[in-house]
């Protein structure tokens, strides 16, 4: 294994490079269109539908799917399950990139992006749940950055700085869990203010708890899912520890996710019962609600359980894809599909191709950064100088 690589090698015309290159060029054009013509030029947003795909997918899904960072580091450092150690760094990296891209995407969505620091530094609207989200995401992005610096410092050979940061691990992990609990739940709580707009099957006083709990299994499922992708495409970057531990990580998270998803299912039913919304289940909206809950929560939970019992890694991966899709579906349902459900279909929102393309562009940026970092820095393997250091 090669530990030191040139920063940017020769870019070869592989299919991956051609496709990502095309997407990035398209993204640059869309960026120009957005900032030259305004949101109206590139999006289908209007006065009835102020939030679209960039909030529903880039922000809500982005944050939920980046939950692997706090889940994995808490598992390893707080709950003391040391066999998850080799999964922490890739999870922290994904979380950091995820949050960085969430903030990047927000620059496209908000009207005056250079004012994004206003809520934190200039005029604090403390009665707003969006303030809480903003503050926590800002702080957590910093925490994730510090948590990831050891990999960068090892890469740069700055041993002393690296050792100082390593001493902060526990404090950072606890801080990360606190901040994640707050903003994951607050993203759900954003919709508490609009009971008249969100369909009663999705609206609940428990929205913050639903968002927090679902972020836990979203994070675990993403760790499993990314693990399977990394095994396929970045196998040569992994060391023996990573390879030997990764099956245990997948099985452990499969068991945990299965269990948590059953709990989630339970509290979703409690939510239905407490607001007596059962009758809505027999409408078209109810059918769609059941697709989300049965097809993308109950089913992956069941598959995880079976797969963990049989030690079937392939099935664990299938379940993780379903679970991730389920969380995406849930976030899109709440922010887009079941939001403004009372409006006639002519006034409903569907994203423009440019909105979809911008979201693809941002996800692609994430993949490119992940690939660059994992091929250069000790993420999927341990740096030989620090091998026995934990």
């Amino acid at each position: 294994m090669q530990y030191v690589k040139p920063l940017v090698g020769k870019i070869k015309p592989t299919p991956f490079n051609i496709i990502t290159g095309a997407i990035i060029i398209m993204g640059i054009f869309l960026t120009i269109a957005r900032f030259a013509g305004g949101l109206g030029t590139v999006t289908n947003l209007d006065n009835n539908n102020p939030w679209g795909l960039w909030i529903g997918f880039d922000l809500l899904c982005g944050v939920a799917l980046a939950a692997g960072g706090y889940v994995t580091s808490a598992t390893c450092y707080i709950f003391g399950l040391k066999r998850f150690h080799s999964a922490v760094r890739p999870a922290i990296l994904t979380a950091f990139l995820g949050y960085a891209l969430v903030v990047f995407a927000l620059n496209y969505d908000v009207g005056r992006p250079w004012r994004l620091p206003y809520p934190v530094f200039f005029s604090q609207g403390t009665s707003s749940l969006l303030f809480e989200v903003g503050l926590c995401v800002f702080l957590y992005l910093n925490v994730l950055f510090i948590e990831f610096t050891p990999a960068v410092l090892e890469w740069l050979g700055l041993k002393r700085a690296r050792d100082i940061v390593m001493k902060l691990t526990l404090v950072l992990t606890i801080f990360g869990v606190v901040l994640s609990t707050l903003h994951q739940s607050s993203l759900g709580a954003l919709f508490l203010i609009a009971p008249s707009k969100l369909h009663p099957l999705w609206y609940s006083g428990y929205l913050p708890i639903y968002f927090f709990i679902s972020s836990i299994f979203a994070g675990m499922s993403m760790v499993i899912f990314e693990g399977s992708l990394a095994h396929r495409f970045l196998h040569d970057k992994m060391d023996e520890t990573h390879l030997s531990e990764s099956q245990g990580v997948s099985m452990g998270f499969a068991k945990a996710a299965s269990f948590i998803m059953m709990g989630y299912l339970g509290i979703k039913l409690i939510g239905l019962a407490i607001d007596n919304n059962w009758h809505h289940l027999f409408t078209g909206w109810g059918a769609w609600f059941l697709v989300e809950l049965v097809g993308f929560v109950a089913l992956p939970s069941f598959l995880y359980a079976i797969a963990a019992r049989d030690k079937n890694l392939k099935l664990v991966r299938v379940a993780s894809v379903l679970a991730v899709l389920g969380v995406v579906l849930n976030r899109l349902n709440i922010s887009l599909v079941a939001f403004n459900w009372h409006l006639p279909s002519s006034q409903r929102y569907f994203p423009s191709w440019m909105e979809i393309a911008t979201s693809i562009f941002i996800v692609t940026l994430g993949v490119v950064f992940y690939r660059f970092i994992t091929t250069h820095m000790p993420v999927l393997y341990e740096h030989p100088d620090y091998r026995h250091d934990h």
């Binding site: 305004g38 808490a74 003391g80 009207g111 206003y118 005029s123 609207g125 869990v177 707050l182 739940s185």
Partner: protein, 378 residues
């Protein structure tokens, strides 16, 4: 006591004090009930009197210096489509066909200036303020353009300049706050030819509305829209038909927007306070378990080693004892043997001595001596 334009001048002196007060934040989590700023003003819209002339729309356009509309304000065909507020129109009049038949009904739509506004509660930079006059005002110099106010507003009022690339604003009715501060009436109220809009202190407007309902119970639905909706609004409505038939939602409830989010917000400090305690505890427990496990392991190893050593010592001991015993018995045997030999030797010597003595005695009697056989033959 409703206040029309004619009575307004006298009234304004009393209100002037209130209007100059600074704005306050919307309330967060609290068990205190907010009943609106005292003496805040509002508008009562009596929809039964509205004739859909659109003069209010024109006045609004002039006062707020907005661009001319595509179709002029005297073109009433605009009323054939249901409209909402836009970034170019802060107020719209809509036409409705009553379900019971008869002539069409009209209703004006604009910001209702909630007593506890959803937009102000939702704004993360405090760009929206509930003024003591009752008006909900907006400060574009703070706005980031996140549009959460538009998500939050239950009446679907705030609008956004989607075609403005760099300086988009959120726009909505200001209740003509600058005019009110000057002691003038809002543009729409000023121009209304039918007094379908009357301006005044909110508490007085409610009394006035109630009197109308009592006086003409056949003409009005027995409800003042805005008295309690979403915690109450400064803009109030009277109607002859159920409000849902003139495009107003009747399912909004009476809970104000800040109350809807108060629970979630109040959980935040508890998470901040308790999560570190719980997590550190969890860490300490797992750490302690690790330590105990390590100690137990070390102890077990030590015990194993100790017992092994003990066994060896015991074996050696036994061996030693056995050897000692054998040695002792061997010595005892040798001693016994030596003693026996010594005894025998002693006896023999005694015997020999006795014989010698006897022989010596015989020598003194020679006859006897020759007859005695030698000892060896015995």
């Amino acid at each position: 006591m409703a206040i029309t334009r004619r009575k307004f001048i006298g009234w304004i002196g009393a209100a002037a004090g209130a209007t100059t007060l600074t704005a306050v934040n919307s309330h967060g989590a609290s068990n205190k009930e907010f009943k609106g700023h005292p003496q805040s003003v509002g508008v009562l819209h009596d929809a039964t009197r509205c004739i859909g002339c659109r003069l209010c729309e024109a006045a609004c356009n002039t006062v707020n210096e907005m661009p001319a509309p595509d179709k002029p304000f005297d073109d009433l065909s605009v009323l054939d489509t249901l409209r909402r507020t836009t970034e170019k129109t802060h107020t719209v009049v809509n036409k409705f066909q009553p379900t019971a038949g008869g002539s069409p009904l009209f209703a004006k739509k604009q910001c209702n200036h909630c007593m506890e506004p959803a937009c102000a509660s939702a704004c993360f930079v405090k760009a929206f303020q509930k003024d003591k006059t009752g008006a909900v005002s907006y400060d574009a110099s703070l706005c980031v353009g996140c549009r959460y106010c538009m998500v939050a507003c239950p009446f679907g009022i705030p609008t956004y300049e989607y075609d403005e690339p760099l300086t988009p604003r959120v726009l909505k009715c200001t209740m003509c706050l600058p005019l009110i501060r000057e002691g003038k009436l809002p543009g729409c109220v000023e121009v209304c030819p039918r007094e379908a809009l009357i301006f005044g202190e909110r508490s007085q407007l409610i009394k006035q509305a109630r009197r109308r309902i009592q006086k003409f119970p056949d003409q009005y639905v027995d409800h003042i829209y805005g008295e309690t909706e979403m915690g109450g609004t400064n803009w109030l409505y009277l109607s002859g038909v159920p409000f849902s038939e003139i495009g107003m939602r009747e399912d909004l409830g009476t809970t104000s927007a800040p109350e809807l989010t108060a629970g979630a917000l109040s959980a935040v400090p508890m998470v901040v306070g308790l999560w570190p305690v719980f997590l550190t505890g969890a860490w300490a427990i797992s750490r302690r378990k690790e330590k105990i496990a390590a100690e137990e392991k070390a102890k077990a190893i030590e015990e194993t080693l100790n017992s092994a050593a003990e066994d060896t010592r015991k074996q050696l001991d036994d061996q030693r004892k056995k050897l000692t015993r054998e040695k002792e018995s061997a010595i005892a045997f040798e001693i016994k043997k030596a003693l026996a030999e010594a005894q025998q030797k002693a006896e023999e010597e005694l015997k020999a001595a006795a014989e010698q003595k006897a022989a010596a005695e015989k020598a003194t009697e020679p006859v006897d001596q020759s007859t005695v056989p030698p000892e060896e033959d015995k």
